[in-house]
Amino acid sequence: MSDSKERTGMDRGIIKKSDIPKLAGERRFFAPAREGTVPPGTCELQENPAEIAYGFSNVRAPLKEIFFPQTETMYTFDFDEVTDVPIPAEQILVFGCRPCDARALAQLDEVFGPENKGYTDPYYMKRREGSIVISLACSAPCPTCFCTATGGGPTETRGADLVAHELENGQAGDGGSLLIEAVTEKGRAFLESHKKLFGEASDQLVEEIREKDAAAVEAVRRANELGVDLGRQIDALKERMDPLFDDERWQQLTAGCIGCGACTYLCPTCYCFDIADESRMYEGRRIRTWDSCQFAMFTKHASGHNPRTNKKERLRQRFMHKFSYAVENMNEVLCVGCGRCITACPVNLDIRDVIRSFAKEPSRENAS
């Protein structure tokens, strides 16, 4: 993978870990850190951390918090007149998210962009336009991740502008460095504009990295075999789940659910939201906030009628949305296999059980 003279910008380079914050410039800078009240053994994407954390599997919360904040003012009003429409124009740099989260961001781009039913969400898209995402490739699976089953992988590049790999001691001399490779035009331009911070990366180094990548992919695949590869056949689960919508297995799969929204709120691709007005006397704002299909009130009509009255129906909706409806509407599986829902669930409901349960059904095409 050598530099091509026709393309503008830089393809790759080696940068010291200590220089990463210098890439931020004027941008709002987010990186993994352990400051403040983060529980032991975890880290999260924090703004302008004093020290960037490494040696973690994944950050607590996915990227959606940055681009699609949990509570966002859409506009303010005074009495009956709109006074301000704060569409964000900020520039953002994210460093250190995992490839699964970057891929999730690409999926949210589809959701909030015009391909999804023709409308564009300006609040999300404006932030995205001004952002650069540098993901950090994984070298080993963690017990709850299954990215390869959903069509992703520990080293994939979709959704990131640049991908970073940690270099070991001995590679590129002093350890404490990263290889950063550009994925998009934006990424190449970004490297070019910061080239003073980068040293050259040899072809041999890159080759070593590619070998490590292949080993990581293999390791994840082996660690979490779910009986389906949605990368190879995106509707593999859809074609099995659609005819089994009323199947009694849903009752057993969802029996323990207590109906909280932890899974949806920590999920990188769950995006349902509510719109509400908050006002005091005559001044106020219209806000957008996260909402969850797991909440009982989510679909309740003003008349009192509720199309989904029980937890089984609501939990089924979540899985059907991710593995069937999104495939139909956007050609995406809205799950990146990050495993946060598994660790967050207070009753240890496991999305992998659902996937395995349907994956073992015969394919409709092959059914005799």
Partner: protein, 354 residues
């Protein structure tokens, strides 16, 4: 011990189901991640999946009201007889069942409680913190360090880790604080009791509250607002709590709208304040809310405070007596009523009497 208890609970459940004494048995099965067993809803053919070990921390009483409610939209009283449900219960679970009985959310006589004298449950967070500490400087990624965890006959917890080999802990080192402090590990009033001893009762853990109350109000406010700043309004605390059973939570009302729906700090704080106050006289400190919170908010400090306040002021603690009604649900002659009869009366020592 846990192998013996697993076998015992499987046998009891099997007999109950086969004899038709219950239609469904709610217990625990092996979890899909280390250090977790998870709620199981079994019928006769699935009793072999039941387990009992030190990872059975969930409060199973949270599932019960659903079996006794009228169907949504139907105003007529239940016409079918109530279903017969079997449920495994530790001390805290049993106290929740009693609380729900008092509030008419479960029919005690169609519930068959299999009591487990509780030895305490292991705190996954304590184990994760201990593993993280091995990594030094803020810690390794605890969640994926832990590959496997098992209890030994000798009362130890052995945790197989990726980077640090097998670590061994004494149970007491890694038990949940609510278990160390628990005053009621024996589920009194259960219909069937598993064999074995419960742990010795703890002291209730009020010392921490007393310490905390010595801090200035600025310090206490600072702690509360910092903890609650992490709240994402996921409602896991509310949903995990057996005595949060309201069909429409105050937080969801739109008419009147008490709090907003987002995670604005004041909304998050008021939500928790009101939720804890609604639990006064009802909370059994099972710590289900604390465990459920994905942001690790220190909810148990505040639930313990409300429990202590109710005990101090009313001499009441929700335990096993279904006849002892919660103080906020009763109003007797001996209680003060000056706020009705003489609202201008200044708050004197008499005026604020019980």
């Amino acid at each position: 011990m846990s192998n013996a208890r697993t076998a015992e609970i499987q046998k009891i459940a099997k007999d109950l189901l086969e004899e038709g004494k219950v239609e469904l048995f709610i217990g625990f099965q092996e979890g899909t991640v280390p250090l977790r067993s998870r709620p199981a809803f079994v019928q006769a053919e699935a009793v072999e999946s039941l387990v009992w070990d030190s990872f059975c921390a969930n409060n199973l009483a949270v599932y019960l009201p659903k079996y006794y409610e009228n169907q949504p939209g139907r105003r007529k009283k239940r016409e079918k007889p109530y279903p017969k449900i079997g449920v495994a219960a530790k001390g805290c679970d049993m106290r929740s069942i009693v609380a729900l009985t008092k509030e008419r959310q479960v029919q005690r006589d169609s519930l068959l409680v299999v009591g487990v004298p509780c030895e305490g449950m292991i705190d996954t967070r304590k184990v994760e913190a201990a593993v993280a500490a091995k990594g030094g400087d803020g810690g390794a990624a605890a969640a994926d360090e832990i590959l496997e965890a098992r209890e030994t006959e000798a009362g130890k917890l052995e945790v197989t880790t990726r980077s640090f080999g097998v670590l061994s802990f004494d149970r007491e080192e890694v038990l949940q604080d609510c278990c160390l402090e628990c005053r009621f590990p024996m589920p009194e009033g259960a219909d069937i009791l598993l064999s074995g001893q419960a742990r010795k009762p703890g002291d209730g853990g009020y010392a921490r509250i007393e310490q905390f109350m010595k801090k200035s109000s600025e310090e206490r406010w600072d702690y509360f607002s910092t903890e609650l700043s992490r709240c994402i309004r996921c409602n896991a605390c509310r949903q995990a709590c057996p005595t949060c059973w309201c069909k429409e939570c105050f937080a969801e009302q739109t008419d009147l709208k008490w709090i907003g729906v987002g995670n604005t700090p004041s909304d998050a704080m008021i939500f928790q304040i009101i939720r804890v106050f609604h639990q006064a006289g009802r909370c059994v400190e099972c710590d289900a809310c604390y465990r459920a919170c994905p942001m690790h908010i220190d909810l148990r400090l505040y639930t313990k405070k409300i429990v202590k306040d109710v005990e101090d002021i009313f001499g009441y603690l929700p335990a096993f007596d279904a006849e002892a009604l919660p103080p906020l649900a009763t109003f007797g002659d001996e209680q003060c009523d000056f706020f009705i009869t003489d609202p201008d009366k200044a708050e004197t020592a008499e005026g604020t009497g019980q």
